[in-house]
């Protein structure tokens, strides 16, 4: 990364015609585009982070409040209490469900996916190629396309409503298998494995002692993508877990709309969710993923590239 960055730095900067007027117009234009899009991506986030600190009237801007102003910690506490008090703290139930579904799927995915990637990359067997091609195909099919077919299938075996109806489909992660496959075939040398074999190590030992320690980055990567995809999945748990005490937080969040007076006409002010509370719920719903995004930035960016290139 750093080598390419520095050589890239030499590229435009060393341009002798850098002060030509045409160049400058181009640069200003490019700068404007970047500023505009940075605002586009960041502004809604900042606004959302501030929204829970306000009252409804402040959020509406009725009292001349600036959209990017900070309300108060008291107001934040009030919104927090109202939200966690809603239906006896159902938001915690939803978060717990999300953790269960995404967490169990994460473990299962890693158990199934990493060895499969290893098998595809490092061993040879008759079904290897069909499996690889099938993996690529299914990987490119959006998971939404399979939701209703999987629902119909699982309803035959009467699994709908069981946590397995979400965990098992969540654990089927062809993209992860492809990542692991690419990683093992490019980053782990066969000679190293062969050397271990000559030393008398069995196939299991070769995998566990040699390949696995080298695979930490791809394990983290597969785990990350699997967790984030599943945590944010809406359609599958929406149909599989219709009970309001079984739904994950992404589905529960959408259900909250029914309690927001602005969006639902039959609502009077008895038990309702105010807009700042809805904003808070939105933040809570993505909090785990957001934290992962914020604190593993460098890892993530390189991971995204690794996932996309075969190097």
């Amino acid at each position: 990364m750093s080598a390419t960055e520095s050589s890239k730095a030499a590229r435009l900067g060393a341009d002798p015609t850098g002060f030509a007027p045409g160049r400058w117009v181009g640069r200003v234009l490019a700068g404007a585009v970047i500023v505009f899009f940075t605002l586009f991506f960041v502004f809604p986030l900042v606004w959302l982070l501030l929204a829970p600190t306000k009252s409804t009237t402040q959020l509406n801007g009725l009292d001349g409040e600036h959209p990017l102003s900070f309300g108060s910690f008291d107001q934040l506490a009030e919104n927090w209490n109202a939200l966690v008090g809603f239906q006896d703290g159902i938001i915690w139930t939803w978060l717990g469900n999300s953790v269960l579904y995404s967490g169990a799927a994460l473990v299962l995915t890693l158990i199934v996916t990493i060895p499969a990637g290893y098998a595809l990359a490092m061993t040879s067997f008759r079904l290897r190629r069909p499996l690889l091609v099938a993996t690529l195909m299914v990987m490119l099919i959006p998971n939404t396309a399979l939701v209703l077919p999987i629902f119909l299938e699982l309803s035959v075996v009467r699994l709908i409503g069981s946590p397995l109806a979400v965990i098992l489909p969540f654990s089927f992660f062809p993209f992860g298998v492809y990542l692991a496959y690419i990683y093992f075939s490019t980053s782990v040398s066969r000679d190293l494995l062969d050397a271990a074999r000559i030393d008398g190590a069995g196939e299991f030992k070769v995998f566990w002692r040699i390949a696995m320690p080298l695979a930490t980055p791809v394990i983290a990567l597969v785990g990350f993508f699997n967790f984030v995809t599943n945590w944010n999945n809406y359609f599958l748990p929406f149909v599989m877990e219709p009970g309001s005490r079984k739904m994950p937080v992404q589905v529960g969040l959408a259900e909250l709309i029914s309690n927001v007076p602005l969006f639902n006409p039959t609502t009077v002010s008895s038990i309702t969710i105010s807009l700042p509370q809805l904003a808070l719920a939105t933040l809570i719903a993505v909090a785990p993923v957001l934290v992962i995004f914020l604190f593993s930035q460098r890892f993530l960016v390189s991971g995204l590239l690794a996932g996309a290139t075969k190097e």
């Binding site: 390419t4 890239k8 900067g13 181009g26 490019a30 585009v33 970047i34 899009f37 940075t38 991506f41 986030l45 959020l59 199934v112 499969a116 098998a119 061993t123 040879s124 067997f125 079904l127 290897r128 190629r129 499996l131 690889l132 091609v133 690529l136 195909m137 299914v138 490119l140 939404t144 396309a145 399979l146 077919p149 119909l152 489909p169 089927f172 298998v177 492809y178 690419i182 066969r190 809406y234 359609f235 992404q250 959408a254 709309i257 029914s258 927001v260 969006f263 719903a285 993505v286 993923v289 957001l290 995004f293 930035q297 993530l300 960016v301 995204l304 590239l305 996309a308 290139t309 075969k310």
Partner: protein, 300 residues
């Protein structure tokens, strides 16, 4: 590629590895069967039968005759067209500009900021945009006012929806693609870029004649993936429909229609399966085309 090498090894080694190959891929293989192949086969079976009796294409005929079907196809098609074109243009332009930024921290920070909204993929992102699109609470109500939108109903009027969904999808998804394009741009060899510079090509010419052609595979990849994903539109119109009290119809997209046909007044799983099959055929065709013609994925 590894096969000849394997063949030279002792027979027992070969057998052991084959066994490990099957063993290690078996868990995934079962999942692939149960959650990849079987659902498709079962949906196909359902779509060709009614109450267990083979009925040929009756379910498809019925679906094609449903007045909600073609509007849904049209909604999805318009959305996908706007979405894919704007995604390609903007992602490539932004990646090129960010790539041209010399200051390293600025470049990486920008990429990071573009990527962060990806955490809001799914219902949370739609929820956030609900706020932004409702002039009565939106911090950008002035901008909405510029377009003549003074109420939520006006903002989410049907002709605006493809653009709204594009904006939401772009906000959550573009950052990831920009990083991927950025990586691909980094892979372009320094000599080629240098040669272009010596030939006197400016950044625009370099981009047009050198960089973009070399990004072709990646652009195609992005187009295929976003086409396939766009055709599956569900959560965005679903939530907007809830929030707009039906101004955004509950049968706006094909997946919503498939959902309604299965679980709404018709209670027709066979018809719903027929829509799923149609959507799957599109997704499979795109996937197959790309796997076999795209040349991006290693399948040795």
């Amino acid at each position: 590629m590894g096969r000849q090498r394997v063949a030279k090894r002792p027979r027992s080694r070969n057998r052991a590895q084959t066994l490990i190959g099957y063993l290690f891929s078996s868990g995934y293989g079962v999942l692939l069967l149960v959650f990849g192949v079987l659902p498709m086969a079962y949906a196909l079976y359902l779509s060709l039968t009614k109450a267990g009796q083979f009925v040929g294409l009756d379910n498809f005929v019925k679906i094609l005759g449903d007045f909600r079907f073609f509007p849904a196809v049209q909604h999805v098609a318009i959305f996908v067209a706007i979405w894919v074109v704007s995604l390609i243009v903007l992602v490539v332009v932004l990646a090129l500009i960010v790539h041209a930024v010399r200051v390293r921290w600025l470049s990486s920070t920008t990429r990071f900021l573009f990527y962060i909204p990806g955490a809001f993929a799914g219902s949370a992102g739609v929820m956030l945009w609900l706020f932004l699109l409702d002039p009565s609470v939106s911090p950008v109500s002035v901008v909405l006012g510029q377009f003549g939108f003074t109420s939520f109903i006006q903002t989410v009027a049907q002709p605006n929806l493809p653009v709204i969904f594009t904006v939401i999808a772009f906000w959550t998804g573009a950052g990831g693609w920009i990083i991927i394009m950025f990586g691909a741009l980094n892979n372009i060899s320094q000599e080629i870029m240098e040669a272009a510079r010596i030939d006197g090509a400016g950044p625009i010419k370099t981009a047009w004649y050198i960089q973009i052609p070399l990004l072709r595979k990646w652009i195609a990849y992005m187009a295929v993936i976003s086409l396939a994903f766009g055709s599956q539109l569900f959560v965005e119109p679903k939530i907007l429909s809830l929030a707009s009290r039906g101004v955004v119809p509950k049968d706006y997209s094909l997946n919503q229609l498939a959902y309604l046909i299965a679980f709404g007044p018709q209670g027709d799983f066979n018809g719903s399966a027929a829509i799923s099959i149609l959507l799957l055929v599109v997704a499979m065709a795109l996937a197959a085309f790309f796997v076999f013609k795209g040349g991006l994925f290693e399948r040795d």
